[in-house]
């Protein structure tokens, strides 16, 4: 059954959220949430990278292509970067990339950015819950899903 039809009949939509996080702050923050036995929404899949500076805009595109309904990008607060300046560079890149995505018609609620430090387990939990709520409100990301269904232009 197509996803949208399933939602109508059964009323279930579990958004898939892809989180690209840095190893030193956000991942440690998420880890702290786990070891502190905090509960949060299970819709997020985390991919750990060395630094937010490593997060290529292509990762975000790939996540959408592979069926993500939303993407979260998170790293160390400015000044806290393990590699001193990685997150400053990432911030510049995101500034441009978010404008580009908006220009192509992608709702910027689908791509969210945040700083979560290693001690901010509570912020992480709230963040995930909020992002999940946002995605639930927006529904499945049909733009990419419809594109995926379309075959290549064949003769």
């Amino acid at each position: 059954m197509p996803e949208e039809a399933k939602i109508e009949t059964e009323g279930v939509f579990e958004p898939k959220i892809m989180a690209f996080v840095c190893n030193w702050c956000t991942y440690a923050g998420a880890d702290l949430a786990g070891t502190s036995r905090m509960e949060y929404r299970p819709n997020v899949r985390i991919i750990k990278l060395p630094c937010t500076g490593r997060i290529d805009p292509l990762f975000i595109m790939k996540a959408f292509e592979n069926g993500a309904d939303g993407v979260l990008v998170s790293g160390c607060h400015p000044g806290d970067c393990h590699y001193t300046t990685g997150n400053y560079h990432a911030r510049r890149r995101w500034t441009a990339f978010k404008d580009l995505l908006a220009f192509t018609g992608i709702d910027l609620k689908r791509v969210q950015f945040s700083w979560v430090s290693a001690s901010e387990a509570i912020k992480w939990v709230e963040l995930i819950n909020n992002v999940t709520d946002d995605m639930e409100a927006l529904g499945p990301f049909m733009k990419f899903k419809e594109m995926n269904k379309k075959g290549p232009n064949q003769g």
């Binding site: 595109m61 911030r91 500034t95 379309k150 290549p152």
Partner: protein, 297 residues
């Protein structure tokens, strides 16, 4: 002006200061302009400059053209807008200022595509960059050729590209999505946009990285979108809006819109304009602690 250009080129070649002059010449039928490479002083008569000289010759300075680099020190005929690209190449360490001789030509605008030229340069066949040009007098050059232009660009950028960007900005998300999908769907992945861009000088492009294949090579809407967006992103803060990608696109994808959008973003966010000063770092390799972060939670 052409005589002045030929004289100078001849002088440079004769003195041995340069080994090759990269410039514009006519094709066999004398109907279109094509790049020429002059290595002999007696051939400098081939050089021309007119409103058909739309190509950005700075692509020939990049490392993709090893055989041209092998000839020796080049002199390049460049309009102000082409010089912007050379400046970016210098800031990115692709060439050194002293390694090239820039024959800057003053320019009063070129055509958008050579086919449109019917004997007269009318404003409607000029690209948006020409209507807003602030470098009609070359800003970085070893020799400036031609009469000084007293053109002052309008304060607010005008032209089709800027109007269209405003129009798209005012659209709903789904209308924008449809607009771009319609255009990107035509993409035939010939990569003319990349090859014509002097700033796309990577020897191995992201689309050629195939373990895994990052960007689909098929004519599929998914890969087409990813390619065009990622290419625009790789040019963020670097693109000088020379318009070569759109000119070269055999299927008329309005690439100037995405690229100019990012030029505007970079200008608003970081106050940077690319291609002006060869001693300033490009915006994406530097940062400021005070960069705006109101979109980050």
């Amino acid at each position: 002006m052409e005589n002045e250009l030929r004289e100078k080129a001849k002088e440079l070649l004769e003195s041995g200061e340069v080994a090759v002059v990269i410039g514009y010449g006519f094709n066999r039928k004398k109907t279109r302009i094509t790049p020429v490479f002059i290595t002999k002083p007696e051939e400098t008569d081939k050089l021309v400059f007119n409103e058909l000289c739309v190509n950005n010759l700075s692509i020939y300075l990049t490392r993709k053209y090893r055989d041209i680099q092998k000839i020796g020190r080049p002199a390049i005929v460049a309009k102000g807008c082409d010089i912007k690209n050379i400046v970016v190449l210098i800031t990115e360490g692709q060439t050194k200022r002293e390694d090239i001789h820039i024959l800057g030509v003053t320019c009063s605008g070129v055509v958008y595509k050579q086919e449109l030229f019917k004997g007269e340069l009318k404003p409607e066949i000029m690209p948006s960059k020409c209507h807003n040009c602030d470098v009609r007098n070359p800003h970085v050059a070893d020799t400036v050729i031609g009469e000084k232009s007293d053109f002052t660009p309008p304060e607010e950028p005008t032209g089709m590209v800027f109007d269209k960007i405003k129009e798209i900005d005012a659209m709903s998300d789904s209308a924008r999505w449809d607009f771009w999908n319609e255009h990107f769907n035509r993409c035939i992945k010939c990569y003319a946009c990349r090859q014509l861009c002097s700033l796309c000088y990577c020897e191995r492009c992201i689309t050629e990285k195939n373990m895994p294949q990052w960007i689909e090579t098929s004519a599929h809407p998914r890969g087409n979108l990813a390619w065009n967006l990622i290419r625009a992103m790789h040019l963020a803060g670097r693109c000088t809006f020379c318009g070569e990608c759109e000119r070269g696109c055999p299927v008329n994808i309005p690439l100037n819109l995405v690229n100019q959008k990012l030029v505007l973003t970079v200008k608003n966010a970081f106050g940077f304009e690319s291609g002006i000063d060869e001693n300033v770092h490009p915006p994406m390799i530097v940062f400021s602690e005070d960069d705006n972060e109101n979109f980050i939670k």
